[in-house]
Structures are given as structure tokens and as C-alpha cells.
Symmetry: C2
Subunit: 286 residues, 2 copies
Amino acid sequence: MSKVIIVGYGPAGISAAIYLKRAGLDPLVIGKDYGTLSKYPKLLIENYYGFDKPISGNELIENGLKQAEYLGVDLVHDAVLSIDEDVAGGFVVVTQENTYKTEVVLLATGRDRVSVKIKNYQKFLGKGISLCAKCDGFFYRGKRLAVVGAGVFMKQELDYLNHLSDDIFVFTNGKPLEVSVPNKVVLDPIVSFNGVNKVESISTGENNYDIDGIFIAVGLPSTTNFASKLGIITEKNDVVVDSTYQTNIPGLFAAGDVIGGPLQIAKAVYDGMQAAAEIHKFLKKK
Amino acid sequence: MSKVIIVGYGPAGISAAIYLKRAGLDPLVIGKDYGTLSKYPKLLIENYYGFDKPISGNELIENGLKQAEYLGVDLVHDAVLSIDEDVAGGFVVVTQENTYKTEVVLLATGRDRVSVKIKNYQKFLGKGISLCAKCDGFFYRGKRLAVVGAGVFMKQELDYLNHLSDDIFVFTNGKPLEVSVPNKVVLDPIVSFNGVNKVESISTGENNYDIDGIFIAVGLPSTTNFASKLGIITEKNDVVVDSTYQTNIPGLFAAGDVIGGPLQIAKAVYDGMQAAAEIHKFLKKK
């Protein structure tokens, strides 16, 4: 068991890991993709201090991973599916491959730029569209539901909801299905969510499906998913932290783009360093 | 004339320069030595994010200079001797080679780790020992004075004081004299400053010299020297800045180790980025 789990291995996560490791703690870093910096492979970084030549985002991320490995930081390439408070204290972090217990979690998950681009998604969010089965599933007991997604995250949400209703569709929204499910599956792309005051149906090019509630579980869980499930306070998509980089949940810290501010590498790296110092203090006090 | 002069080309200074340049301003960076990072050539940096292998301080500084040059930043390798407020507004920056006018100065001079290691130096600082001829010279009119130093900075202070007294010794404190002076010169190392409530004499191994006032001008002017001359508020050797990285003197900003906080590259780089944004705002308002 690691005392600190860092979710995300971009600049903020690795900077924090380096400082924690050197402070004598042994953080475990769990990351899956290269985040924002890898989104624009042709974009070269010129404004992060210390490189005589411009460097690509992928190269910088890989440098960071090698740097952490060089210092003996434990890195796991895995997708975090859920983070929950443990009744015994601390947190339980479930990944695709494993389950971990930890005293402290640092969210360094970057900016959620994945958004669902389906007509009326924003309009019905919170009005029949939910981002968290455990948060809202209870209100949809016995109703006709849809889970949107095609992979492990969809499966996780579906498994939970299948206990609450026996009339649930899976919509892969045009993606190939990546996991086996005992439910009806619609592979057609979704054209729109429909309704008046709340969502009432889903239209694909082919059909219209009457639906009482929709759970979005596309790709991997985003920070927004973790946040809504844990009850973390957010403001305009940014996780809100205090001056010690702690969220409203004791022991749950956040750093980097996920907390807003200038979306700059220099700021993420600084955040990581500062959050590490605060986590160190937090664990000392316990 | 540059609108912004950055004094110091370590991580804070160059990070600020990069951001200012990319914001469309043309900062001039003046630096002389590689600062703290070059003091321990065998020490390798492992905790600054983005390098797969540890990097030496000198290498990092040189990378930073090349990075700035690549982006077209004007760099001058020169020693800043004085910074003064200009009656017409803005500042006059005097270097060994030149004189510059500017609207904004960013002090990114790092940590003053040069200290005078002479017995009773601390005891008599402010009690007969001064760090600024222009600040305190007037109080020593016609007295028997000593200027401690061997180079251009000593010469600058001496030139000023020679108008106020015709009985001034230069003490090089064991260093070879680097500039011509019309005064009596003592090359012997200083053993101690002596006195009861204030300084009264200087002892070398060979002799004892009765002295009313001593002006320290060793090496190049330090931030402490700039600060005391300009009337910048400092606290325990740190330049005090507000949340916009501005000192108590409008238009005079400071960033990096010189303002205290964690003495870390990540923090200096972040400071530089933030100070650049604040300088940009400051100039826009004018």
C-alpha cells in the first residue's frame, strides 16, 4: 500500500512524484494517456524554461516518465475507473487491472477536453442525463435507461445500474463495443437527445428510443466523473482547492490544469512541487 | 529603449523574458554570472520536471540562454552597477558598458549568497557600516572613511564619496586592485572591524586604521545594494512583492529566489511566467 496515489503522469503529476519521492515518501503514479500535450503532435513547446530547442509534447511527457523512473518512482500504466472514500479512512482507487488503498490521492488529471458532442447534451445535463451511476442511479430504479459508452467505464456503470433496472440499453454511439454486456446494444451513432423539460428519447439515424434516464460513460472516467462521484466541489469545470491544494475532501488533493489558472507547463510543474510539500505536511500531521 | 529590462538571466529572468517576448514585448535581459546554479558544478539537478537525465546547473542556464536567443530575446552579458528611478518616470539602469532607460525593471537577480565574512560585520551593519554611498554618504561628510572592494563597483562608490571627504582609504581585503583610484589603497586582508557602539577602526594583520565610516562595495552590486539605494522594502533579505510581483516602487518587479519562498527552479520559472503577465498588464494600463 502506497500512502500517496497520484492520478495522471503529465507535468503536475510527475513533478509532485519527484518531490514526494525525494522527501522519502513512495508515491504510486497511475496514468494512461499523455493528455493535452499529446493532442497536437506537431505543436512544439517553446515557453517552458530549460530547453535550448523546442520540444514536442510527447517528448516532454516521455522525458518526465523517464525522469521519474530514474528516481525510482513507481509508475503504473493503467486506467483509473473510480476513486472512492474508504469507510476505514483514506481512499480506494480502482483501475482496469487492480484495486489500491491509499491515504492520499492527488488528482493531476489535466484538463477534461473530452466533451460529448451530441445535440441537446448540455440542455439535458442534470435533467435526465447523468455522469455518475452511483450518484444518481437510485432515482432511476425500474426505469428505462441508456448507458452511453463502449468500453470498461461503460461496463462499470452498467454493472451498477443493472441491479436497479432490467430495461437498460447500451449506446456505443458509433464505436465498436469493446466489452461483453448482457444488455441490448445499439451501435448506431446518436443524432440527438430529445425531450421538453427533461430527456425523453434518444434518436439515431435509424430509430427513436424512449428513455427515462441516460448515463454517460464514454471513454475513460474524466475528472468530472470522479468529482461528481466523490462530491468534490468544482467551479466551471475546475476542481476547487484551498491554499494547500486540498479539495473539500480531506486527503484529496489536486494540481495542474485540473484546478484551473494559467494552462501552462510552468504552472503545472510548480503546482506539483507545492502540492507535494502540502501532502507531506498533511501526512506528518496524521 | 526597451520597455522592460530584466536583470538576471537565470530561470526566473529567462522564463519572464520568454513570456514577454511571446506577448509581443521586447524585453532586454542583462546578466553577468550564472548565479546559484553554477556554484556547485558537480551538483546535478533531478527535481526540475522534463529532463530524462540529471542536468548540471551550468547546462540548464546555458540551455535557457539559447532558448531565449532562439526566440529572438535581446541578451546582454554585462554587470548592472546601479538602478535608479528617473525623474522623468521609469528607471535608469547603469551597467559596466552602458546606460539604459526603461519603463519597467524586473529584478531576477537570485539569492544573494555573497556575504562579507569579516569579524563584527553584522554587528556594525548600520552602525558605521553602509551598503550604499548615495544613501548614507551625506552623513559622513568630511569624515575618515573606508571603501571595501577592488573593482568597478568599489570605484563607483568611491567616486561618489570622494566629493564628500578627502580622507578615504580603499581596502581590497586581500584582492588585487582591478581599477585605478586616486586614493590610498590597503591590499592586506581585513581581520576585523572594531568599536564599541559603532565602528571605530579596521584591523588588518599588519595595522590598525581609525575609521569613522565603512562602505562595502565588494564584487558587483547585490540585490541588497540595489534595494537599499532604491528604497525597496525587504524582509530578511527577501525583496517584498505584492500579488502582482511588484515591489513598493511602481514599475519595479521582482521574481525568483530574490523574493524568497521555496528556492526551487520550478518556483523561479513559475514566478517568471506570472511576473511577465503582470508586467504586461501594468504596461497596458499606462
